[in-house]
Symmetry: T
Subunit: 146 residues, 12 copies
């Protein structure tokens, strides 16, 4: 199988750039996707970038990644804190999933401090803004080499 | 832009009239929509009434309201208490969102007493049955005048 | 009995206008009372506006409203979160009580997020600033018609 | 000092008879006071019956009972669960205070299950309706004999 | 059926007199039973006094009281706070059960502050030492008259 | 070893039929035992039905079932929520234990919502009234076949 | 109406057989559906088996079952613990819903121990692996006969 | 405006000297007031000392201090832990309020360990007995100089 | 009085050897009793070893130890965490009670981490398997010498 | 023994002046020490000012203060909320310890609201910025006079 | 390797004898060390006794014990309840560590009731005063023999 | 200033390789340091690697990094969950601090799930074993470029 990454952006991340930029930064999702694709190419990965506001759709995407992707980079956004379904999907598939957050969730509202998904991910990178995604590409490359 | 309202009914509100009428009243969703439309017309608003059982669809609807609606009237129903995704969508858009409940949620089961969405809404009206919606139309009119 | 409203402003609301205006707005209590009275007159109500910093006095006022008022509009302010006595008074009288808040209490300090009084009120309106009172007048009119 | 009892009825007990009779019974406060007075007379006590909706007034009454009363019978009603001030007054005076409740508070809403005042009272009698007061008179008589 | 009382002393109450007398007093269980019997006789009741350290035995005793006793006076002692089985037995039988405590349980260790049994009893009397039992006899007499 | 079932009814289940029939149904324990026996016979099981109000006795019964029974059907009733001793007995023996409840315990009082015993049972069936027992017989038959 | 069952498998159950088989067993969803269909046919039921990863879709399915199904067998999987929307749908329809779990959820992670849906279901069967579904068919047959 | 202090003693502090002297000391309120007055005079302050058992009255006193006092020294006593109304009054006025306690409240009963008022005060001094008041005078003098 | 020890084994300890040996070890209760007796004899103690699954029986045994035993060695097993009755019995008698556990209870399930009985025991020894009992004999000997 | 004060500054207080000045003020630790020394001299005290980032070192300093200092002024900073070791050291020595905080800790993050050390200190002064230290010198002088 | 014990006394234990002797006893640390050494010699152990107020130093000591000691006897004192670092050190080394406490920590303040270190120790002995250490020597000897 | 990194390993990380390798991996701290140094050199950084078991020493190291380092890579290990002092040091200095963990802390024991330090760090990387450090070097390089 060719080396391939699936990037999943969770709910409301399609509004990046205009949505509370003091928290989430000024880069749009399209710009971030371009930077991810460039970095991934340098590391020998094909990339597919998807966004969904639907919990069930993210579960579907994760299930379909099994057997076809080297790794998944997932920013579950709001579903980080509420979705056992996404957690179960991550635990059910073999593909390593790398959790990514733009902000430091542990420093925000109480209901945003716990990640239901992190315990079943291969690792987590948070707080570096859009750079978190690039570090996740780097992490995927390291995992693929090991 | 013409004055326009989006009314979003959350999960199971399409069953109004037959669903636990001692709590939710005997009026059907169609009847309530008719009364909303009448009242809104009197206040100079076009109205679009939508219902969805899907959290992600409600997020989609809210995102699309940005730039095209004067205000949104939202009864998040069950998602009031569990959806950070809807909360984030409300916070991300400029349009004022008015939260509406048929019953007094603070007097019901423990898991129904906290509203995740209320803190980012322009205001909340609850407990007046279907009249809560009409008061929300009134509130939207007041906000539009200010 | 003639149609008549009692408006009760709870503790520290006599300081409106100068008290933390970024939360409570710039209108004074007198100005708000004038707007309430005007709106109520249009709806055919006499209005009596009272303010008290004393929990017991608010209980007294509520008890006296029984039999003499069509409805009560109550902003319990700080007592919203601590007074079982006011809750019991509301539950004990027949007159419908409409709870009003200037700000969205669910988005403030933890000790301000629970309302002890709301579960026994006819309905609640919050977050619209001084307009919350006008919507409550509207609600009282709707209830009187039903 | 002649044998003398002070009976203090807390907030909203002046509405007894009409207030939620399925919980509090059909007897009015005046009727209950008459029965207390009769029973107390039989036990050789003068009785003074007072009602107040004001926490501070109940503190005042308790302080004044020091040195002039054989015992106090107190139904703190709503203040049972919220008033440290009344608790402190009971602890500060020498006169024994007997706490009385019409209903079984431990079987009601969560916020009504804890009594802040009971730990500093001479004893508590609850759940017997208006008979709780008569048993308290009996208790005061027993304490006076010991 | 003749008027008859069952008095049940819960675990460790057979040690009264020697067990932590600063909390429970100097009277032995036998002495207290004698005083109960005397008072009950004056009120026209036969009395049967029982003590058990076994939760199941107390359930058995309560079940057997159905149909043969006018009322039960129960000091559940340690089982007050842990026994749903005793609670269910009280709720299952028709006979009124009066809960009695020597001390004010609400002022003691955290694990002794909640009574599982009180919500299903006819009433509770606590804090008057051995006199709590005599007041319970009085209460039983009142209930029998009503 | 012949196929044999032990049915254990926990505390107060001997009162079935008269005890809060709106929750527990109108069938007596004897009638339920008859239906269990009939169903079990059809599935090739001998049945022994026992009831006890004593936690320790239920532990004794479970211990004795080891080596002599194919399965145990246990309704721990009140002890479901408080007995670590019964839990430990179930975990200590090899015989599969099937937990049964007449009502849906998760919808009742807070202290009845957690089952200490369920995690170490082979399975749980709840909410079907006396039919829960028949389904448990069916389950025992399935387990015996596997 | 002909006797008909709807079976709803919640999120990730389409992965059964390969997903954590030490917890969920080796049988695939297709195999389980075949066994359900066989058993149901023996009991005179038509069966329709559906799977969805989408909370909203499960709400839709439940709503459509009203008026057309004898009973619903529902394994809400991850949504058991987070979906008030599904709970509300179950409560809103007349059709009895039987909750099913493969594993004993009360013995798993803390966030999996509470079922939001169970209190409004007709009953619950858990812990018997794929046999839980067959017992649910049996339960549906019993309910249909009563 | 002349330099002037308002000292407010909360509920039950009028009983100082006789009330639990092992906690609160042997000095009476009158004696403490004399020492405060002497110290304040040395620092160039007029002093007005008030005591009230009424929460509402303390709110009234604080509101009236605005514009007429250099600083307020407040011992809220029991209301420290329960009064949001007093907290709101302190936050609403410009005058600096210095919170004073005779004992170390953080070392007492759980319900006395949290201060609702402290976060909005200029500072807090606790545990030094009546000397806490003199240190507060000193603090007021320092604040007036800055 | 001759030097004499009572050893009480709580519920399910009669199954030692076969019950979860990876936690509780392979030694049977009889073997452990033999080792205790040998060690105790060396220290000049007579020993009486008892086991019971009944909470009430353990209370009875403790009460009877008063006046006849030098010390009691108690492994309350499951009752460690739920029995206030056993705690009260220990506190009521003069004989020193030494609490013993085979495993380190603080490292096990949440409901096994708190000991209700330890605070009133003379000391606790845990985690050394059957050697915990021998160390308790040693402790009893030390206490007898002091 | 000559009158002598030990001032202990806890972790990170050596960064005062540059560290979050909007919370902690612009004065450096050296400047504050100079003001303390001046004020202490006026009150007849020698002063020794120490700073440490090490919990153990602060325990050492407190132990050495026993017998050689009139009083200790301690700002435990971060260790206020986490160090039982420092609490135990304060409780173990005879020297009175006065706890000092620059800010009002009760108004900050949840983990900063509880002081483990305050209950065993002679008193606490908080919220007056660097003036808190000068008031502590004053308090030490008062305590030395009493 | 020769048989050798390391005894580590945690913070403030160097003050034993003078520090709250009603809790910790009158023996000094030097006296206790002498008794430990004597007992250990009898059991064939060399002993090294250390005390430190520094969490990090205790971690260092534990790390150095690996490979050079037969067992460690550790009284973590205040760090029992707060130090994950010491817990991790115990878990990281092979040497068995025996936790010792002078008092029964489960009967003291809430923050002293949980031991973070006990779950990873070989066993715990508490409540026997200085004799706890001698029993720990005995335990070390038993472990060395096994 | 030349580009320079400080790497701080918290308590017990000097034992890496031998300490619970199934959690922390087989690489020793020296090996990890070598890999960090190599990667950092490639990115143009000098590196200084330090390890300490002492909370205070880590605070000292962080303070000294101010003004002399481009960034700090910190694995606070056990202190992640207990040290407000380290949190305050990170917040007080200008240098960006990158938090690193070998394992996914959110999936471990409850007391290891919260990070006190993460909210004030520039970002966090966890779960990738020793590769977490290399990703942190990459992150430091990205931050230095921005």
């Amino acid at each position: 199988m060719e080396k391939s990454l699936l990037v999943i952006h969770g709910p409301n991340l399609n509004l990046l750039g205009s949505r509370e930029p003091e928290i989430y930064g000024a880069a749009t999702m399209a710009e971030i996707n371009a930077r991810i694709t460039e970095r991934a190419a340098a590391a020998g990965f094909q990339v597919d970038c998807r966004q969904s506001n639907h919990e069930g759709e993210i579960v579907d995407l994760l299930q379909r990644a099994a057997g076809s992707r080297t790794a998944v980079i997932l920013n579950p956004a709001a579903y980080t804190h509420t979705s056992i379904a996404i957690r179960d999907a991550i635990a059910a598939i073999e593909v390593p999933v790398i959790e990514v957050h733009l902000s430091q969730i542990s420093g925000r509202e109480a209901f945003r401090q716990q990640s239901l998904t992190a315990p079943v991910c291969a690792g987590m990178i948070s707080g570096f803004g859009w750079r978190s995604y690039l570090l996740a590409v780097e992490a995927a490359a390291m995992l693929a080499r090991s």
